[in-house]
């Protein structure tokens, strides 16, 4: 197996759940697909404190291209390949020798940016990219006469931001003057009070407010297909219920995990906007015991499952929406031994396909009984034996391979076996990936950029926010109270 495929796979060591020695042991007994994902594990076992290991390693860590044939490496990757004796080294040898190869090139400055490879690794910058260097800043001796407190948390800067982000409007001059005149402790308290007030405003939680907008990329609405309120030309689905559940899970200390665990729907009333849990909702036929929050709404069944037998798109969207892993970008790959089986004969076992599908297909199987638009059985519902029925003569999948009907319902998520979608959602909701993805989404929304992993202090702040989210029972508002006090948010 080319070294390319080893190094091009990203895997989040912290989420794998498999200690490295076990991973290494598996190499001798599993197929090549699982072996291909081990390089990031080995790297992060070698450098466990590298900020890069808090999320999937980027391709650019070693590669300039992972899709071309032959693959190409940046200066760091090339040095590593040379140390390993060239590309094409056998899998077990590669895994065994990677740590020593990494150690051998630690003191080199492969990309010529004046920082050694190990300095870059430990500080989260890319050792093969001269434009990526460890974060540093020179701070003024005193910020007393400056309009902003550089290199520190500035309460006034944060106060303006809290007003704009959460209330949608700057404070007044009088309000700002009162804030300026208060003590530091009073300012911190005022920030908290302001946040508490603003998270109840229309700007934050109302229709088309900030929270609502954060759901766009997850719901992916199509105006022409909208049913009910704001009806489109071809009304097919009232996807506002997806938005309602999203917002409900973000507010009032509710458990954010309900976006994948909730077995209820949420209604919205206006003037002022309020969200209320309900057992049933018009146009949502999914029975209670098969509901999994935003994974199983009618819109998801219609738009992501549609007519597909094995709804990979629905599973992949869920993986991206709630765990932050985009398989199309080689993120979150947890290869399962023996996969992909290719039950529907799509050729997913081919070279160039199987690396991703060895993760994607097993995480899709739990969706196999959720019906979208396929006829002859109830639409938008969980239908036991769905593929078996639809594979019969005269049914929609009659021409598909006979193996389709044998597609299992049990699968794998994040390297863990799951029996069905309920367990899938449970594993997802309790994962570090879920909490981290949610924190990073808020970080990006409010700070305006992704966390800077070359800044150790900022990486630590993100870790702390993840812990706050979890320890608060996944209360987004509790996490936001901590977020607005970070230097990343309030440091000019």
């Amino acid at each position: 197996m080319p070294l390319l495929t080893w190094l091009s796979r990203r895997r989040w060591r912290a989420a794998s759940g498999w200690p490295i020695p076990l991973s290494l042991a598996l190499l001798s007994v599993t197929d090549s697909a699982i072996a291909e994902t081990q390089a990031p594990d080995v790297f992060c076992a070698t450098y466990p404190t590298s900020p890069r290991c808090a999320e999937p390693l980027p391709c650019a860590f070693c590669h300039t291209s992972t899709t071309s044939d032959p693959p190409t490496w940046n200066a760091f990757g090339a040095a590593l390949v040379a140390e390993l004796g060239g590309p094409g080294v056998e899998t077990p040898v590669f895994v065994a020798e990677l740590p020593s190869a990494l150690a051998s090139i630690e003191l080199l400055d492969s990309d010529g940016d004046t920082f050694t490879n190990v300095e870059e690794i430990e500080n989260g910058s890319l050792p093969g990219d001269p434009t990526s260097v460890p974060f540093s800043e020179t701070c003024p001796e005193s910020t007393q006469d400056l309009p902003y407190a550089l290199c520190a948390f500035d309460p006034e800067f944060a106060f303006r931001r809290v007003n704009l982000h959460f209330c949608g409007q700057s404070p007044s001059y009088d309000e700002m003057q009162a804030f300026r005149a208060s003590s530091h402790d009073e300012k911190i308290a005022a920030l908290s009070t302001k946040l508490d007030h603003c998270v109840d405003t229309e700007h934050w939680l109302g229709k088309d407010g900030v929270l609502w907008s954060m759901a766009h990329k997850r719901v992916r609405p199509v105006g022409a297909l909208k049913a009910g309120e704001d009806e489109g030309q071809f009304p097919a689905s009232d996807y506002y219920v997806d938005y309602h559940l999203w917002v409900y899970a973000q507010i009032d200390g509710h458990d954010a995990r309900d976006v994948v665990l909730g077995d209820y729907f949420v209604e919205r009333t206006t003037n002022p906007t309020q969200y209320t849990k309900v057992d049933d909702y018009p146009g949502q036929p999914m029975l209670l015991d098969r509901r999994q929050g935003m994974l199983t709404t009618q819109w998801v069944m219609l738009y992501n499952v549609m007519f597909t037998a094995i709804p990979r798109a629905a599973a992949a969207r869920a993986y991206t929406n709630f765990l932050g892993y985009d398989i199309a970008k080689d993120q979150g790959l947890f290869a399962v031994p023996g996969e992909p089986v290719d039950y529907d004969g799509k050729g997913v076992g081919a070279e160039g396909c199987r690396d991703c599908h060895s993760t994607l297909d097993p995480l899709t199987y739990p969706f196999r009984n959720y019906n979208g638009l396929a006829g002859g059985i109830p639409r938008y519902q969980y239908v036991p034996g769905r593929l078996e029925f639809l594979s019969q003569p005269g049914q929609m999948f009659a021409d598909e391979p006979a193996t389709l009907a044998t597609t299992p319902e049990n699968g794998y998520l994040l390297g863990q076996p799951v029996a069905d979608l309920a367990e899938w959602a449970s594993v997802a909701a309790d994962s570090d990936a879920f909490s981290r993805a949610l924190v990073i989404d808020y970080f990006q929304t409010l700070v305006g950029r992704a966390p800077d992993l070359t800044n150790a202090a900022e990486a630590a702040e993100v870790d702390a926010l993840v812990q706050t989210l979890v320890s608060s029972g996944h209360s987004v508002e509790a996490m936001l109270q901590a977020l607005i006090l970070t230097e990343a948010y309030g440091g000019p």
Partner: protein
């Protein structure tokens, strides 16, 4: 002068403002543009947190600034200028500026346009959208204030005769600028900034425009509310 005529003339006044505010113009663009991972020093430009022109200031390595979205900008302008946020800025008299210019000012267009996330960077027409919204708001406020001088929101009781300020250094002129700064930038203007606004009037009056006081009010408002300090946070 109506808003259409303002819209046709910003190029003229921008030139005037450039001269008038030369003292507060950016002296070192590179130094003022913070770059992550680097530090340096710059010189204070217009509206840099009340630092007088020319004063050096350190540059943040974080470059942690956000540009107001269309909604935030519209609401802030409405609050500063005491205008109805739902109606003060309407394109073609029918469409909210925040809606029309939303995409270019970091909003989404999820339902019809498929823009599920805001653009990660502003685009070439983003500054024009800001200018337009500020210009429309400032035009409306200046006209309303000068039409009812006793109850004006910002430009109150300016000493005007024949469309011109009788005394550009009058306390009422400085008071108007101070009100504008307090409402918009949440602080008092510096002495240098007050002088720059007086100089602005001198330049406008010298251009021969028939209503220099009104033009100054609009332009003074525009130049204040289109600063980095107001548009970014």
């Amino acid at each position: 002068m109506d808003l259409d005529s303002i819209a046709r003339r910003p190029a003229v006044w921008l030139g005037v403002l450039s001269l008038s505010l030369a003292a507060v113009a950016c002296e070192d663009d590179d130094a003022r543009a913070p770059t992550s991972g680097s530090t340096g020093s710059g010189s204070a430009g217009s509206g840099v947190g009340g630092v007088d022109p020319g004063d050096p200031f350190p540059v943040s390595a974080k470059a942690s600034v956000r540009m107001k979205t269309a909604t935030q900008l519209e609401r802030d302008l409405a609050a500063v200028l005491s205008l109805d946020p739902d109606t003060f800025c309407m394109e073609l008299g029918a469409f909210s500026c925040a809606d029309v210019h939303g995409i270019r000012l970091s909003e989404t267009d999820a339902y019809e346009g498929g823009f599920y996330e805001p653009l990660t960077e502003t685009i070439i027409s983003s500054p024009a959208a800001v200018d337009r919204m500020v210009l429309i708001g400032c035009g409306a406020r200046a006209e309303q204030d000068l039409a009812s001088p006793g109850s004006a929101t910002i430009f109150n009781d300016l000493p005007i005769a024949g469309g011109a300020l009788t005394d550009p250094a009058a306390p009422a002129v400085d008071a108007a600028v101070s009100t504008l700064y307090r409402r918009g930038l949440l602080r008092d203007p510096t002495a240098g900034e007050l002088q720059a606004h007086r100089d602005l009037y001198t330049a406008i009056a010298a251009s021969g425009t028939p209503e220099p006081a009104l033009e100054w009010a609009k332009s003074s408002c525009f130049v204040t509310l289109s600063t980095l300090e107001f548009v970014f946070y």
